[in-house]
């Protein structure tokens, strides 16, 4: 079962890379871009009996390894299930 994990910096954490991308976009003339936040994207293929089981497993994995709770939050998408958000 495929689970997508999106890891992003918490809103309170400054993102030096996102900031630099905004400046580059402004240089290119995209003055309407107000903010960019850079994150990470993972695709997990999990052997699970149900979407709920796959989500629970992916949630544990995201908490344990993929995201650092001090600076990052994450969001999960299980193929064929509704999106869920974690802080």
């Amino acid at each position: 079962m495929k689970v997508r994990v999106f890891v992003t910096l918490k809103p309170s954490v400054f993102d030096p890379q996102g900031h630099t991308i905004v400046e580059a976009l402004h240089t290119l003339g995209y003055r309407d871009v107000q903010d960019v936040r850079q994150g990470k994207y993972f695709e997990l293929e999990i052997d699970a009996g149900s979407p709920d089981a796959a989500r629970a497993r992916a949630d544990e994995i995201a908490r344990t390894l993929l995201a650092n709770p001090v600076i990052e939050g994450y969001r999960l998408e299980v193929a064929g299930a509704a999106a869920g958000v974690a802080p």
Binding site: S12, V13, F14, P16, Q17, T20, L65, L66, N68, V70, I71
Partner: protein, 231 residues
């Protein structure tokens, strides 16, 4: 007196730390591979700099799950002195043995230069022989040394005297230009509540002989030996 230098795949300052402990200081020193589950009876443990596991995912994020980290955590819990240098500091943060996290340098550049750090606390095993507010010249070499912790955590660390090193000018002044990576409150190194685990981004092991531009780093190794001898 025995130093254990933990070696992760991608560590590259392990031999520098070994050289400083064994050849400059004259202490016993041994390498401990990250798959080991004990620390070879060491009195002092060093997590060296480098790029463990290629810095994949996040710096230190994978190394923190190495088998040896169980032994490091137990050693730290028993009060043993643990020093994390650069990547070793990042591993200690990921492992939760120290508080906070690292972000990409504010300037987005890998910074490799000698900097000045002020010793804010002499009550750790690695700064015991320093004078209060002594300014040390030590090199840094990192791309992700922008120390971050939530504001309330920074406040708590400051109040508890857990900020051990701060980036300053040669005169010991805290100025924006003296901060090489954007670290909050110019924090270069911190300790845990028990004060036996210390992490810092600068590399004392690269500054233990004057031929290298500075011998200020030797103080870390001499302090640790003195602290262990004093019990």
């Amino acid at each position: 007196m025995k130093f254990a230098i933990v070696v992760f795949p991608g560590s590259n300052c392990d031999h520098d730390a070994y050289h400083a402990a064994r050849h400059v200081l004259g202490a016993d020193a041994t390498f401990v591979w990250h798959k080991e589950t004990d620390l070879a009876g060491a009195d002092i443990v060093i997590l060296p700099g480098g790029f463990s596991h290629g810095d994949y995912l996040r710096t230190g994020a994978i190394a923190r799950f190495s088998p040896v980290m169980g032994a490091v955590a137990a050693f730290a819990a028993a009060g043993g002195p643990v020093l994390g240098i650069c990547n070793g500091f990042q591993v200690l943060l990921e492992a939760g043995l120290l508080e906070g996290a690292m972000l990409r340098n504010a300037g987005l550049r890998f910074v490799c230069e000698h900097v000045h750090v002020r010793v804010e606390q002499t009550s750790t095993p690695f700064t015991a022989l320093a004078s209060p507010r002594q300014v040390l010249t030590i090199p840094i070499a990192h791309g992700e040394g922008n120390y971050y912790a939530p504001p309330e955590a920074v406040e708590r660390l400051e109040a508890a005297g857990q900020v051990v090193f701060r980036y300053v000018t040669a005169d010991g002044e805290v100025t924006p230009e003296a901060n090489p990576n954007g670290s909050v409150n110019h924090i270069a190194g911190i300790t845990n509540a028990a004060r036996n685990v210390v992490g810092l981004m600068p590399h004392p092991e690269r500054a233990c002989e004057s031929v290298l531009g500075s011998a200020d780093g030797l103080l870390f190794f001499e302090s640790a030996v003195a602290a262990v001898k004093a019990g």
